[in-house]
């Protein structure tokens, strides 16, 4: 017998879900609230939640002092570029691992993932030297390459998992129907994998957008993305919490909006009903 869902139970579940959700969201909410406070209110003790004089002053100062547009542009190029490049490399890789696996496929996947277990700082020195030698330091191209490499294992893993879900018989049917390998990928595999590819792209854009270790260490001024923009408010002139919060809010706003709008498309699956 199915468990009875009483109104009380439903209310408790709803309340619990909201509590957890708010707990997770609270740091972001606090950052956004702080960005509208004066520096004095921002460090007031006890902290003020909503009852303060809302001001846009911080945003004005931040906009005046730094070129937000350039940081934003750099972030878009670096996050978008590294994801696009990663997808181009990972789709054929994941395709072959999912549909023509060898005995070593699982080992290769594990090995790829194992590179993510290495602390990034462990390879900072060699990569830094390589960047100097190759003239990639503080260039968007250099960061696109590094972030693509950092995220490639995750992209391949995600795509592999999605491709695995596509029944092999459908691809065989396409082959019987006269499709070449290219046509099979274009007409059958790609459309069926679109939700999977889309969520992979979204996740990797977010990862690359938020990546702070490499972007801070390998850029100075020209290629610096929004992570560097936030960092520039964290120390040099003492701590200005309200301005730091305003900069943070401006840095995370684009990605929050992107995530909000794309969540619905990502949920809907396409393969349902193809195979009994």
């Amino acid at each position: 017998m199915a468990r009875a869902v009483t109104p009380q139970r439903k209310a408790i579940n709803t309340a619990a879900a909201w509590a957890v959700g708010l707990l997770i969201f609270f740091p972001i909410l606090w950052t956004i609230l702080t960005s509208f406070k004066t520096e004095a209110t921002a460090i007031a003790d006890p902290p003020v939640f909503l009852a303060f004089d809302w001001t846009l002053e911080n945003y004005g100062v931040v906009m005046e002092r730094s070129n937000y547009g350039r940081f934003l542009w750099n972030s878009i190029i670096i996050a978008g570029g590294s994801t696009l490049l990663g997808i181009i490399i990972a789709v054929p890789a994941a395709w072959s691992m999912a549909f023509v696996p060898s005995k070593r496929t699982k080992d290769i996947l594990m090995w790829m993932l194992s590179t993510k277990m290495l602390p990034a700082v462990g390879v900072l020195y060699p990569i830094y030297l390589l960047f100097i030698k190759m003239g990639l330091l503080d260039t968007k191209f250099g960061l696109v390459i590094v972030l693509m490499l950092i995220n490639l294992p995750i992209i391949v893993w995600m795509l592999y998992t999605y491709f695995k879900e596509i029944p092999g018989e459908i691809l065989e049917a396409a082959r019987m129907d006269g499709a070449s390998l290219k046509e099979e990928v274009i007409h059958i595999l790609t459309p069926m994998a679109v939700p999977g590819i889309a969520s992979t792209i979204l996740l990797n854009v977010i990862l690359a957008w938020n990546e702070a270790f490499w972007t801070l260490n390998l850029t100075a001024a020209k290629a610096a993305p929004l992570t560097a923009f936030i960092a520039s408010y964290s120390s040099p002139e003492g701590l200005f919490y309200a301005k730091l919060s305003a900069a943070s809010t401006m840095a995370i706003a684009p990605i929050l909006i992107l995530g909000w709008f794309s969540q619905k498309q990502l949920v809907s699956g396409l393969t349902f009903g193809a195979v009994k």
């Binding site: 019987m176 129907d177 006269g178 396409l270 009994k276």
Partner: protein, 334 residues
Amino acid sequence: MGQIQLNQVTKSFGSVEVIPPLDLTIEDGEFCVFVGPSGCGKSTLLRLIAGLEDVSSGMISIDGADATQTPPAKRGLAMVFQSYALYPHMSVRKNIAFPMKMAGIDQAEQNRRIDAAAKALNLTDYLDRRPGQLSGGQRQRVAIGRAIVREPAAFLFDEPLSNLDAALRVGMRLEISELHERLATTMIYVTHDQVEAMTMADKIVVLRAGVIEQVGSPLDLYNRPDNLFVAGFIGSPKMNFIEGPEAAKYGAHTIGIRPEHIDVTDASGPWSGKVGVAEHLGSDTFLHVHDTGLAETITVRAPGEVQLHYGDAIHMSPRAELMHRFDANGLRMA
């Protein structure tokens, strides 16, 4: 045209040989059924013909031309899969059009063939739906439609009805048989269901462990099975096998008698026993008889309604002229 010839074809997966050297010819326009228990290699054989698996050695020719190395797309064969394998992101119309699109057939001709196939398969009202919105039987018809429109040299069916419920299965069986009569195209059909094999085939190929046990028309196999395996596999309920002194009376190691070839007699008869389970089907009654001293159970098919129940003692009379005799190796004796 669609004559398919297999010449010394073998298939191994690693060190396991699933198809030992095998020869088989399927004539143009023939309805050929591969039948056998699970794991007998019948699906593998079909996939070798389709080109979805590569042969380990030997030659496959289609209409006299060597097709052993030809990719599946170029063999001119159409396949209907057990899972239907429809394209979930395409409408029924686009699913059916796909092979024609790949073949570069012009739009007007595509539409003509789609409409004709949809009409023949009762799909006209569903052309704009997605596969997910169709029932199992409708999906199967779309898969068949997709196969028909490319006018293949031969159709390959891989257990196409096993996902359907019993009533639908009988209906689809008739539809496929009628389709074969109408198109007169070669069809190769894989099933583990001997009833499908018997009712649909011109020629049945009985397989066991990758080896062809017997090839013949349904009634050939029914009337003259080459060995015990074929005798036991073809026919439902299964043939009764009796060994020992009773078989020796007929000069055989094993005798086989089909349930429908044993008459139930009231008072006398050479065999006797007690009714175990009596299955009343209306048209027939299947009696499973114990304590016969011949075999653990003797199954008898009595026509019509027979008023016999658990524990009733009965006498049976086998029709000697319809008895099958097998030697110690399980092979048919002349």
